[in-house]
């Protein structure tokens, strides 16, 4: 008998879990509990399956073998595994970027139904990349950008273009460490090569190679995705929307889009507004078409079109369990293989669209960027026809539906803070210098059944807000806090400390800014660049009173992101499980202690969200002191210091 409050802190989640239990539907939580206890060797990273002299394992307690068959010790095994994970995570983001570059190329040639929405950003990027813009047509410039972006993947020489954005001293650090990334595909391939049996046998060398690969993601693949998506689909603007399962409507055709690439989801948005299709929906007896999203693709269409979000990662099965979903359309990443089987218990059709993302028990309708709009119409049409098959007596949609404000970007912050005529980051910097805002924290990342759904995101965010930390969020974390009501402007009154409240009220923003999907974590990097340019609070990333956290992470993408943030010089806290490196004591020491002297960033593992918030707060205080900023204007009475953070123990006892 499972306690649903332990499984999800979200009342909508609890509601659906009750149904699942009552009616005997298997969910990710059941599968997680059945898997316990999970393999200790795997958790510690000391299992090696790279070659077939093995597989091997190193005994973490020192009783059994301490060296694998080839002679690797625990640190080497851990390090080889780590860079494979970074390579996979970077590959996922980078393929996304590649697909966006391809879509931009198509748009420049007038194919597929893609248009170029943001000419301002187009011109800005073209100028940055040295592309001639005078007297040239938009689509010519776009073509050049797309080709240059595609070339970033194939490059064999030179530095990745976006690394030029970074302050000179940071570039020097990267050059000195040998981690300046060259070509996106190349860095991923090199990492995989190094992890092969008998290539890179030095754990330090491997860790830095991993950082290089991750930088090719953060300042490469992911950043290309964000910037080119803005050009293609428009830069997001602040808007109001709704989030949680209550956005599904009993009298409409509910189409849930899940996965990551807006090249698909944007087209679905466009097709869902087609008057022919709306008429078809009415013919089927529905009031209309209701598009809703799950995971990052949800964030993409939320940020630009205000499309409601049905939920985050752990809601993907629960959405199907409402019995109200005509189709769940998926592309790539974070899609559980279980949904095909589950959907069969209802009329729901799971439609896979990517040749890279097939699944059992689903209908495959291949999405080609070349015929994007036509394919999108076909898919929506199929979903609408499925409305006839809905069993209305089996429908159970929880009532939870929360208002949110989303759509913040690096560029938008200028406008918000300074207004139309004097856009500037000055008010933010001044707020930090004067002590109204302690610093900025980026709370990002996934859901994980190891943690009650959303609990860590919400508790950590609330604790940070209480201490005047401005929080920016992406991905499933942003959706989590959205569901809990932290993305409303009113949230400042309820949750923020006095200094943060004053800024939020003056400017009209929520205390938590939703800045997008997981590739949009690069907006955190570009925002930091603007903050540094504006001046007064640090000349490199490691000097800023800033920190990142992924309180419920689970994916290899998160491992890649964590490494590019640490490699860029920012403190990164992981909740939920630690990185699978603790079996390698030296690797652990390198990433959680020594790295601070080397790149300025480091990893901290802390399963408790309140303790984690305080470790972040301590870090921000440390940075403020080093910059000799004014003390906090409205100090919070209980400023708990957590001394174990510096004691060298990577996991709190």
């Amino acid at each position: 008998m499972s306690n649903n409050k332990q499984r999800s802190a979200d009342p909508a989640g609890q509601h659906m879990l009750k149904r699942a239990e009552k009616e005997g539907f298997e969910t990710v939580w059941d599968r997680y509990e059945a898997m316990l206890p999970q393999c200790g060797f795997g958790q510690l990273g000391v299992c090696c399956r790279n070659c077939y002299m093995g597989p091997c394992r190193v005994d973490p307690f020192g009783n059994g073998p301490q060296k694998t068959v080839c002679g690797a010790d625990a640190d080497l095994v851990v390090a080889r595994n780590l860079i494979r994970q970074i390579a996979v995570g970077s590959a996922a983001h980078s393929e996304h970027g590649r697909d966006v570059a391809h879509a931009l190329l198509l748009a420049s040639e007038g194919h597929g139904g893609y248009e170029i929405k943001d000419e301002v950003k187009l011109h800005a990027l073209a100028t940055e990349w040295g592309i001639k813009t005078d007297g040239r047509k938009v689509n010519e410039i776009a073509r050049d950008i797309a080709l240059m972006a595609e070339n970033e993947f194939a490059k064999q020489h030179g530095d990745l273009l976006f690394t030029k954005r970074v302050p000179e001293r940071r570039r020097e650090i990267w050059k000195k460490l040998g981690v300046m990334p060259t070509g996106i595909d190349r860095e991923i391939v090199e990492a995989i090569n190094r992890s092969h049996m008998g290539v890179d046998n030095d754990y330090r060398s491997l860790v830095f190679s991993g950082i290089k690969t991750s930088l090719a993601d953060g300042w490469g693949g992911s950043m290309i995705a964000t910037e080119l998506q803005d050009i293609l689909f428009g830069r997001p603007r602040p808007l109001r929307a709704k989030v949680n399962l209550g956005v599904l409507k009993k009298d409409q055709v509910n189409i849930v889009v899940h996965g990551h690439e807006p090249t698909l989801s944007m087209m679905l948005v466009k097709a869902s507004r087609d008057p022919d299709l709306t008429a078809l929906a009415k013919e089927m007896g529905a009031e209309g078409i209701n598009l809703a999203g799950i995971c990052c693709t949800a964030n993409e269409i939320l940020m630009r079109h205000g499309i409601p979000i049905a939920g985050n990662h752990l809601h993907q099965e629960l959405a199907i369990l409402t019995g109200a979903v005509e189709a769940m359309i998926v592309d790539v990443q974070c899609v559980m293989p279980a949904i095909g089987e589950l959907a069969k218990c209802f009329h729901t059709e799971v439609i896979t669209t990517s040749p890279k993302g097939k699944a059992p028990g689903t209908t495959y309708m291949e999405f080609h960027e070349e015929k994007a709009y036509d394919t999108a119409r076909e898919i929506i049409s199929k979903a609408i026809k499925n409305y006839q098959n809905r069993n209305h007596s089996k429908v159970d949609i929880p009532q939870e539906e929360m208002d949110i404000v989303a759509g913040f970007t690096t560029e938008e912050v200028y406008n918000i803070l300074g207004g139309k005529y004097r856009p500037s980051y000055r008010p933010l910097n001044d707020g930090i210098i004067a002590g109204r805002i302690r610093g900025v924290a980026g709370i990002v990342g996934c859901n994980n059944p190891m943690v009650p759904q959303d609990f860590n995101h919400v508790e950590m965010t609330k604790e940070l807000l209480k201490h005047d930390v401005l929080v920016v969020e992406t991905g499933c974390a942003a959706i989590a806090c959205g569901k809990a009501g932290l993305l409303k402007p009113e949230a400042a009154k309820d949750f923020a400390g006095r200094g943060l409240q004053e800024i939020c009220e003056a400017v009209g923003i929520p205390p938590v800014l939703h800045i997008g999907s997981c590739v949009d974590n690069t907006r955190i990097l570009t925002a930091c660049l603007e903050i540094m340019k504006e001046g007064g609070i640090g000349n490199d990333f490691n000097e800023l009173p800033a920190a990142g956290a992924a309180p419920e992470w689970m994916s290899e993408k998160a491992i890649a992101i964590g490494h590019y943030v640490v490699g860029t010089g920012i403190f990164t806290l992981l909740g939920g499980p630690p990185l699978p490196i603790l079996g390698g004591k030296n690797v652990t020491k390198l990433l959680t202690q020594d790295m601070e002297e080397i790149t300025g960033g480091k990893f901290v593992f802390e399963p408790d969200p309140i303790k984690g918030a305080h470790k972040i707060i301590n870090h921000l205080n440390k940075k403020r002191e080093a910059l000799k900023l004014k003390p906090m204007m409205y100090p919070v009475e209980v400023d708990k210091g957590v001394t174990k953070a510096e004691a060298g123990v990577p996991v709190t006892v």
Binding site: G40, D59, G62, N63
Partner: protein
């Protein structure tokens, strides 16, 4: 009396039981924190494998325990009602006579703590750590009769091609 029994043909010698036993008996009882403890945790159950065949070593609670006979400090006793062989660590002198006496070699001489240890059937816990941890459900905590029944059912499943 209930004891640990193993369907040895299901054992892959993955050593999940060893890790679970060590963590269960550690101070923190958490895998990640156990690594940092002053006294490294250690298992009371051992997996060996040769030529693809596994063997599992742990205290069998002998009817005529040689370890009890060898013990000079009275730390080792046999409960007359259950037949369980109990090691009271607080009375152990670290003389290692029991270690030498055990015909299965399952008593551990821990030189760090200077005391002997053996499987204690996870006294005080709701489930045996090794039994819970086995990914193949090869380990069982039951009576001999119950185990015979389990083996019978398993072999019937095999015959039926399940």
């Amino acid at each position: 009396m209930k004891k640990i029994y193993c369907e040895i043909n299901k054992c892959f010698a993955c050593k999940g039981c060893e890790i679970a036993c060590a963590v269960q008996h550690s101070e923190s009882m958490d895998l990640y924190q156990a690594l940092w403890e002053e006294h490294p945790p250690f298992p009371r159950i051992f997996v060996k494998s040769k030529a693809g065949k596994s063997s599992l070593l742990y205290c069998h609670h002998c009817d005529k325990p040689k370890c009890v006979a060898a013990c000079v400090s009275g730390a080792l006793t046999r409960a007359s009602d259950t037949g369980e062989v109990i090691l009271d660590t607080s009375k152990c002198d670290g003389c290692w006579k029991c270690v030498a006496a055990c015909p299965f070699g399952v008593i551990i001489a821990n030189h760090d703590l200077k005391k002997a240890f053996k499987c204690d059937l996870c006294k005080g816990y709701d489930m045996l750590a090794c039994v819970k941890a086995c990914p193949n459900n090869a380990l069982h905590y039951c009576t001999q009769e119950e185990f015979q029944q389990i083996v019978k059912e398993s072999s019937m499943k095999v015959k039926a091609g399940v």
